[in-house]
């Protein structure tokens, strides 16, 4: 790095206020961008329509079990990313284009592609979608269970567990009926085992464990830790995602698998310049069962469900204060149902509301599976 590059890099670290106060004004979006985005979405939809007509893609075999790749990094991705999991073979090449941006599933695309041309519009009717069973990722974890797991991992390193910290979810963010249950859980627990930091994540990560270790200090090199945890043989080729070096180790039937109580895969991330190293142990190789293809609502039908109160949202009573005319369907995603065991398709709506924070937009979710397949008066509990 030469001197000008160093200066340029240090300018990047100026005070937050100077950055925020001087954000350049937005450029006017050119219509051609929307056209390109629409064309991509149309290409995607052609595939979806083909698939939803009951015909299999050439790369697909019989759909019985699937392995959706549910890493936390693809959480923002919606339906189309999940559909990649329908194939046991190599993902189809076109899925490289199935991003939330070019399909209008999120980000700018989600707000600029008009509802009438969104992939959830009735003219692109998707009649059936698969429902999965066996999801564990969205379970919150009890603090005592998290600490127990961390203590056993600390034992492997021959260290005591110290500096235990809990982060509890804010019950106000959950529906009243869930608040008591939520208050017994934790979002994450962190602790130290010598120079190593352990974190167990709960909600959204299904007990994912992260092991942070100093980049340089022996014996806490990545290789040494992998050896201690018996990940001596990486099974996946090393590659990089952006500037993150990425190694995958498979879990085995050793002590760690017993501690974690799941078949796991270990992701090793190492950022450029060794800012910090960490291992992420996750159960996202667990096979989910596809329980079948189920009829789903159209976006318009889902909107009706929304205004009949059959939705979930971060804050209650959004719709009572919402403006019907502003409800816009912004996506179709796979999410867990209330008990967390099934993964179901949900429509998301953006609704203008004055609930809580003055005029704002709230995200409301409506289960896309036809109500006849759901238990009555439930939050998408599968019947």
């Amino acid at each position: 790095m030469n001197k000008a590059e160093r200066l340029f890099e240090k300018i990047g670290e100026i005070d937050d206020a100077a950055i925020v106060e001087n954000i350049p004004k937005k450029k006017r979006r050119l219509p051609v961008l929307l056209t390109v985005g629409g064309a991509c979405a149309a290409a995607v939809l052609t595939l979806i329509l083909y698939r939803s007509s009951g015909q299999l893609f050439p790369w697909e075999g019989e759909i019985k079990t699937v392995q959706p790749f549910l890493s936390s990094s693809d959480l923002p991705y919606g339906l189309y990313e999940r559909l990649k999991g329908l194939s046991q073979e190599e993902p189809p090449m076109l899925t490289a284009e199935l991003s939330p941006y070019n399909a209008g599933m999120g980000g700018d695309g989600g707000t600029t592609i008009p509802e009438s041309s969104g992939p959830w519009n009735e003219k692109f009717e998707i009649e059936k979608l698969p429902v999965f069973y066996g999801n564990k990722r969205y379970q919150m974890i009890k603090p005592e269970d998290a600490v127990q797991k961390m203590r056993k991992i600390a034992d492997i390193f021959g260290e005591e567990l110290t500096d235990i910290e809990y982060d509890e979810p804010n019950p106000e963010y959950f529906p009243p009926e869930d608040r008591e249950w939520v208050s017994e859980r934790c979002s994450y627990v962190s602790a130290k085992a010598g120079a190593i930091k352990l974190t167990v994540y709960g909600h959204g990560c299904g007990g994912e464990i992260r092991i942070d270790f100093p980049a340089e200090d022996e014996p806490y090199s990545r290789d040494e830790i992998a050896k201690l945890l018996k990940f001596e043989n990486p099974v996946c080729e090393e590659h990089d995602i952006g500037f993150t070096y990425h190694v995958v180790y498979e879990g085995s039937d050793d002590a760690l698998a017993a501690i974690l109580n799941y078949s796991f895969r270990c992701f090793d991330y190492r950022y450029e310049k060794d800012e910090y190293n960490f291992l992420m142990l996750t159960d996202n190789v667990a096979t989910l069962d596809c329980v079948g293809m189920y009829p789903i609502l159209s976006a318009e039908e889902a909107k009706n469900e929304l205004f009949e109160g059959n939705y979930s949202a971060m804050y209650p009573d959004v719709i009572e204060n919402g403006e019907k005319s502003t409800a816009v369907c912004t996506g179709l995603f796979y999410r867990p149902n209330a008990d967390g065991e099934y993964l179901l398709p949900f429509y998301s709506f953006s609704v203008k509301t004055d609930r809580n924070y003055g005029e704002s937009f709230a995200a409301c979710l409506v289960c896309a599976v036809s109500p006849q397949y759901l238990a009555a008066d439930s939050d998408a509990l599968f019947n």
Binding site: K3, L7, F8, I23, S73, G107, D108
Partner: protein, 182 residues
């Protein structure tokens, strides 16, 4: 959604955190990445890496200013990506570096520590008039073109170039006065 609410979503490990972040700050981060890389595909990947890094960092980090936190991550990732490119480097970033080389004081002693250098830049910026600060930050933080800055401030491109040149000269003098070595 307010940034505080989005940060709470990260702390409750809700996947909505990334979605809401993308909705609210995606546009800004894409611009930061694009200004450096001048390539839509690379910028998009860079912004996706930003979401991943934010998801992995929060918690335990609780940013005071989410927009600046995300913008800084994006800028660093984009800059790293730009450095690793052998071809098709964003011309604006190259130009910015050439311009900034004018601010480098003559070497007399030991290289200043990172913290001291950043602190000096902050003090220099604080002393600038708001318009001059905007021009400097937009050019050397956001890597905006001279034309874009001129349009925003409703002044000519020549005036922007002139003021940038003056600010660079002042920055060099400031570094020399402060004994900063780069």
């Amino acid at each position: 959604m307010e940034d505080e609410q989005i940060i709470e979503l990260y702390f409750s490990r809700s996947e909505d955190a990334v979605l809401q972040t993308s909705k609210k700050h995606g546009s800004m981060c894409r611009r930061v990445a694009y200004n450096i890389l001048r390539n839509s595909e690379d910028s998009e990947e860079c912004v996706n890496d930003t979401w991943l890094k934010a998801w992995k960092s929060i918690p335990p980090v609780r940013p005071n200013c989410l927009a600046a936190f995300l913008a800084k991550i994006t800028r660093n990732l984009a800059l790293n990506r730009w450095r690793n490119r052998e071809k098709n480097r964003g011309i604006q970033t190259t130009l910015c570096l050439e311009e900034l080389s004018e601010c480098i004081p003559d070497a007399h002693g030991e290289i200043s520590e990172d913290l001291a250098l950043t602190d000096a830049i902050n003090r220099f910026l604080a002393a600038l008039k708001p318009d001059a600060r905007k021009i400097f930050v937009q050019r050397y933080w956001y890597v905006c073109t001279v034309k874009e800055i001129a349009r925003e401030l409703s002044i000519s491109e020549g005036a922007v170039k002139m003021r940038l040149s003056r600010i660079r000269g002042e920055l060099k003098q400031f570094f020399e006065k402060e004994g900063i070595e780069i």
